[in-house]
C-alpha cells in the first residue's frame, strides 16, 4: 500500500463515520474540473471537445473552494482539461491543502517542471501524472511524440523536490500485458509513490471509438497484467478495485462516490456521463435518478464501464461495510496476492 498513513486514517475515519450515521450514499473523492482546456488531444478522451469560448473559461478559486466545502469529501481529484493551464491552479491547490483535503492534481506533466516552483510539497498534495504506458504506448495514446520523456523528466524533478507523485494509467483494447508490467517496473524504478489504473470509458465524444474495452476483455487484460503481481509494485488505489478489474470481485457502480463539479455545475450522474447539471451538491444527491444508472439498471452506457470513478468508491465501501470486506482487504495487503 502506498498511501500515507495520515491519508489512510483520514479516509478510514470518514467512511466509518458515514457508516455509523447510516449514510449509504456519500462522496469519497470530489472530481473538480476547473477547466476543459488542454494542451493535448488524446485519442480516447471525450472531455475537451468544446467551442473556443467554453475552453477559455475556468472556475475561480472561490468556486472551487465552495464546491469542496459543499461536497465534504476527504479527497479531491483535479482533472480537466489540463489543470496546470489554469492561471490560478496554485492558489486553488493551496486553498484546498489549507482545508486539509487530500488533493490529487491530475496532469499530463507537460507544464509540471516549469510550474513546480508555484507549489509547496505537502502530504496533502500529490501530482497524479497521466502515463498510459512506456514511451511508445504513451505517445501514441496522447497523439504526440516526446510527451513521455517530458513527463518522466518532470516526475523525476518533482520527486527530487519532495513532492508526492503518483501515476494514472488508462488502458484500451490492444494494450500489451507484458509491456504494462514493464511499465509498472519502470515507474517503481523512477520512484513514484504509487500507481493508479483504469480501463478507458467509451466516451461518445472521444475521437477513437474503436479501442474501448468491453467488460470481458477488460477482465481478461487486467487478469493477465495483475495475476502474478510483483511485491515491489505499489498501487495508490483499493486492492479490491484491482480484483474487480480482474473479474475476481463483483461491485455495483456508486456514481455518487466521485461526484463531479465543473463550470456547468454538479454533473449528473457521474464523471463520465453528462445527463445534465444540478445547481448544488444537495440537489445532485437528492434529485438524480440514480436507479437509472449502473449495470443493474440496464442502462446501455453503463454495461461495459469498469472505470475507477464508478467502482473505486464501491470497493472502499465494501472494505468498511462488512467483516468479510475488511478481511479480504487485509489479506491482499498482507500477502500481496490479488
Amino acid at each position: 500500500m502506498s498511501v500515507p498513513l495520515s491519508q489512510m486514517w483520514a479516509v478510514t475515519s470518514y467512511v466509518v463515520g458515514q457508516k455509523l450515521r447510516g449514510n449509504r450514499k456519500y462522496p469519497l473523492v470530489l472530481m473538480l474540473e476547473p477547466l476543459f482546456r488542454c494542451n493535448l488531444a488524446c485519442a480516447g478522451c471525450g472531455k475537451i471537445q468544446y467551442p473556443g469560448q467554453v475552453l477559455k473559461k475556468h472556475l475561480t478559486v472561490e468556486q472551487c473552494v465552495r464546491a469542496v466545502e459543499e461536497c465534504g469529501a476527504p479527497m479531491v481529484a483535479i482533472p480537466g482539461g489540463e489543470p496546470l493551464m489554469h492561471p490560478e491552479i496554485a492558489d486553488i491547490v493551496a486553498a484546498l491543502v489549507a482545508k486539509k483535503k487530500y488533493v490529487y492534481l491530475c496532469t499530463n506533466a507537460i507544464l509540471l517542471k516549469e510550474k513546480l516552483d508555484q507549489f509547496t510539497p505537502s502530504r496533502y498534495l500529490a501530482f497524479s501524472v497521466h502515463l498510459d504506458g512506456l514511451r511508445e504506448e504513451h505517445d501514441e495514446a496522447v497523439c504526440r511524440d516526446g510527451v513521455f520523456d517530458v513527463a518522466v523528466e518532470a516526475v523525476a524533478e518533482a520527486l527530487k523536490r519532495g513532492f508526492r507523485v503518483t501515476t494514472n494509467t488508462t488502458l484500451f483494447d490492444g494494450a500489451s500485458p507484458m509491456r504494462t508490467r514493464d511499465f509498472f517496473d519502470a515507474m517503481m524504478d523512477l520512484g513514484v509513490e504509487g500507481m493508479m489504473m483504469s480501463p478507458g470509458y467509451s466516451y461518445s465524444k472521444a475521437p477513437d471509438q474503436e479501442h474501448f474495452l468491453r467488460r470481458q476483455s477488460t477482465q481478461k487484460l487486467f487478469h493477465q497484467i495483475l495475476s502474478n503481481p510483483k511485491r515491489r509494485w505499489r498501487f495508490n488505489q483499493s486492492p479490491l478495485f484491482l480484483r474487480f478489474l480482474m473479474g475476481k470481485q463483483e461491485f455495483e457502480c456508486t456514481p455518487w462516490g466521485n461526484p463531479t463539479y465543473t463550470m456547468f455545475g454538479w454533473q449528473r450522474p457521474c464523471y463520465l456521463l453528462q445527463d445534465g447539471y444540478a445547481k448544488t451538491f444537495k440537489e445532485l444527491m437528492e434529485t438524480t435518478a440514480w436507479e437509472k444508472y449502473g449495470r443493474k439498471s440496464g442502462n446501455e452506457k453503463c454495461q461495459d464501464c469498469m472505470v475507477h470513478c464508478g467502482f473505486e468508491a464501491s470497493a472502499v465501501d465494501h472494505t468498511f461495510g462488512s467483516v468479510r470486506g475488511l478481511l479480504q482487504t487485509a489479506y491482499v495487503q498482507l500477502t500481496g496476492k490479488l
Binding site: 488531444a41 485519442a43 471525450g46 471537445q49 468544446y50 467551442p51 469560448q53 467554453v54 477559455k56 473559461k57 512506456l134 514511451r135 511508445e136 501514441e140 497523439c143 504526440r144 513521455f148 520523456d149 518522466v152 514493464d182 511499465f183 517496473d185 519502470a186 524504478d189 523512477l190 465524444k205 472521444a206 475521437p207 477513437d208 456547468f264 455545475g265 445534465g276 447539471y277
Partner: protein, 120 residues
C-alpha cells in the same frame, strides 16, 4: 455522423424538446432562434425538460453565462457552429503516423526504433 449544419424542421415528427436534447449533446455552438425572431449564438450546456417551466442553459459566444432560457421562448435551434467532437485532429495524427511508418519502411530508411529509458 455530425449534426453540424443541421437546420431542424420542428413539426409533428420532431419536437422542440427533442431538438434541445440534440443541442445539449452537440459539442459546438448553436444558434437559438427565439419566438420573437431574435437569435442567440452559444453553447447549450444544460437543460431540464422535467422542470415546472422547462429551460435550457447556454454559454454565449463571448463566454458569458450559463444563462437560462425557457423552452417556451424558443422556436428552433440551428447547429451552426463547428462540431468539436468530429475527431479531425486525431484523424490527422493517425494519417501522419501512417505516413511516417510508410517512410520508415521504404528502402533506404533506417526505420528501427532504438531502446529508450525504462525499456521503452
Amino acid at each position: 455522423m455530425s449534426l453540424q449544419g443541421w437546420n431542424p424542421q420542428i413539426n409533428q415528427y420532431l419536437s422542440l424538446d427533442e431538438v434541445v436534447e440534440f443541442a445539449f449533446d452537440y459539442r459546438g455552438n448553436t444558434t437559438i432562434v427565439r419566438r420573437d425572431g431574435t437569435e442567440i449564438v452559444g453553447y447549450v450546456c444544460n437543460r431540464d425538460a422535467s422542470a415546472a417551466e422547462p429551460y435550457l442553459e447556454y454559454v454565449d459566444e463571448d463566454g458569458d453565462g450559463p444563462f437560462a432560457l425557457p423552452y417556451a421562448e424558443i422556436s428552433n435551434i440551428r447547429f451552426t457552429g463547428k462540431d468539436t467532437a468530429a475527431g479531425n485532429s486525431w484523424k490527422a495524427w493517425l494519417e501522419r503516423k501512417e505516413r511516417e511508418k510508410a517512410m520508415a519502411a521504404a528502402p533506404g530508411h533506417g526505420g528501427e526504433r532504438g531502446p529508450g529509458p525504462h525499456g521503452a
